[in-house]
Amino acid sequence: MSSEYPPTLPAEYADIEFENNAQRLPLVLCLDTSSSMAGPPIQTLNNALVEWTRELHDDVALSYSVEVAVVTFGGQGVAAWRGPQPLAPGAPVSPFVPAHMFSPPQLGAAGVTLMTEALELSMHIVAARKAELRASGLQYYRPQICLVTDGLPTDGTGHRTDSWQRLVPVLEEEQRARRFRLYAIGVGGITDLGEQVLRAFAPTFNARIQGFPFRELLQMMSASANAEQKGAGDEVFEKIFSQFKTQRPAWES
């Protein structure tokens, strides 16, 4: 697996990250950029990513160990991004960027919803990253994958498909083995059926949220990363998530 993503940091980064041998926390944002997200929703998402990036840079504890990768599904297929750069499929570069150097992509919305393929790519890059880290003697906390969508999985022609069901047993096993925490969040006008898909993917951390509260969503990911760094128990993550889910601001008591 790692052969597709060998541990090649670009030369200008290699010197910077060489010294940091903190335990890492890989975080994947797996984002729906299909046509239904066009207009204000994608703009809201872009703005939220910019704000969140600033907060991430300012947080010395998170920026010490979090690494961010972005996966999108829209247009003609799926894409992994290294910060603002989309990577060519099979490019020999890891999409994970240390939090303090992360800058967000500027996303557009169009095309189909290859949600299943995007989740598979997310799992793949997480597994590859783990292999890279281990080979360097570096440890990692449990990675976080955050799936955000307002729709239903489609095939490459934009037709609804049930192929997502092939993922359910895989995800179940991966989460049972604690290989990552999967958050599956439905936004905007997601349907009951869409919500069912998310519930099947992420039985613990799924939600259907009114509107497009991407800022709160990303803050919830930071709060979870914080809890992970602290070594919190499952109940803390569930609490953080339920605070987000009920759409009360995270700071309200």
Partner: protein, 387 residues
């Protein structure tokens, strides 16, 4: 926009709408019109024991007898008032604000990028040694006052530009009320700093503080390396710092057990006495709390080194222990191309190099001067093409 209104000792204050920091248990808010105070509000209504704990704490003034100079912030962000709602219900407490940019979490000293960003040209090894001393002093003082830190980590201690430290989360400290005899345990911990008995659910003790202190001091003196880093050769795929602590696997004591993280600073940058303490803490001390060096032992050993720090003539921000014949940071820069303290662009381009000398001469040269010169040459040879 304003947030909620709370009462501090009956005084009505308005909190900012957004917290400075929110965790799973509580969030910390600035107070409008008062830059020196923050209020910590619990997410779930705190119980009567928490209210009693804070009330008792207000009656205590630990470390108060310690003479400090005017530039030194208090070592504890001790509660200053209870925070109550309009009905008098207990919500949290107020404390002095120790925020950025003046006060930075200890973890900000653990990577070069953050050190340079947050401490500019201050955070060299001498500074890290001084912070270690302050940390050991704070711990020893708290133990002397019968306080157990309990949740001791790189996130809940802040350090200022002079290297003074302040412990933030005082409401989790374990102590016994001297008047009533009621024991208030510490219910929080941070796994990367938790001794095995804490991980297993045991109570916070001085010995568990001593373990966390040893890890933090080691991290400071190696510019950020966790002594329980590294992936054990025979581990399952999800091995973590926590697992290495539980299994007593530290490369400082037994490097043969793990794939040592690449880029790890050699433990020998610690002066011998400090390295001996570290090896006790990360070897026999892992499973035998009594074998861990106390905060006082750390303090004594750190104290000896403070007066003896050497300054490298070759590069800025290079200071090191007197036990070393040459600058370890120059040696490392020469062999790896990586300078732990200086950014790749902030170092001036050295003058062109005279003919090269064999690298092998460097390490074994009996003459410090020659060794320094050779190290400098190597830096020039290795770094120059990169600039």
């Amino acid at each position: 926009m304003s947030g909620r209104t709370v009462f501090l000792d009956g005084r009505r204050v308005t909190l900012a709408e957004h917290p400075l920091k929110g965790g799973g248990q509580a969030a910390v808010f600035p107070v409008e019109g008062d830059d020196h105070t923050v209020v910590k509000l619990y997410r779930d209504r705190p119980g009567p024991d928490q209210e009693r704990r804070l009330t008792r704490m207000l009656a205590m003034s630990p470390l108060a007898a310690r003479p400090t100079d005017a530039s030194q912030p208090p070592e504890l962000a001790w509660p200053t008032a209870l925070a109550r709602g309009p009905e008098g219900e207990f919500l949290g407490y107020a404390m002095h604000r120790f925020g950025e940019p003046g006060h930075v979490q200890l973890v900000g000293l653990f990577t070069r990028a953050q050190r340079l960003r947050l401490f500019l040209d201050r955070a060299d090894w001498r500074f890290l040694l001084g912070v270690s001393w302050n940390l050991a002093f704070m711990t020893a003082r708290m133990h002397h006052d019968n306080l157990v830190i309990g949740d001791f980590s790189s996130s809940n201690v802040v350090v200022d530009a002079n290297g003074f430290v302040t412990f933030l989360d005082c409401d989790s400290i374990a102590f016994t009320d001297p008047v009533t005899g009621e024991a208030f345990p510490c219910l929080m911990h941070t796994t990367d700093y938790s001794s095995p008995e804490r991980q297993a659910g045991g109570p916070a003790t001085r010995a568990s503080d001593d373990f966390a202190l040893a890890v933090l001091v080691y991290q400071l003196l190696t510019a950020g390396n966790h002594p329980f880093g590294g992936v054990p050769h025979e581990s399952t795929s999800e091995s973590t710092v926590k697992d290495n602590i539980a299994a007593s696997v530290s490369y400082v004591v037994r490097p043969e057990l793990v794939v040592v993280p690449r880029g790890t600073v050699d433990p020998s940058v610690l002066p011998p006495e400090l390295l001996t303490l570290a090896r006790s803490a990360f070897g026999p001390g892992v499973h035998a709390p009594a074998a861990r060096p106390s905060a006082e032992a750390w303090l004594r050993a750190l104290d000896k080194e403070r007066a003896q720090v050497r300054v490298c003539p070759a590069r800025p921000l290079h200071t090191y222990g007197s036990h070393l014949p040459t600058c370890p940071w120059c040696t490392r820069a020469a062999t790896t191309g990586h300078d732990v303290f200086n950014g790749p662009r902030s170092v001036p381009v050295p003058t062109p190099a005279p003919p090269q000398q064999p690298a092998a001469a460097r390490r074994f040269s009996p003459l410090v001067g020659v060794a320094l010169l050779v190290a400098l040459l190597l830096i020039i040879l290795i770094v120059a093409p990169r600039l």
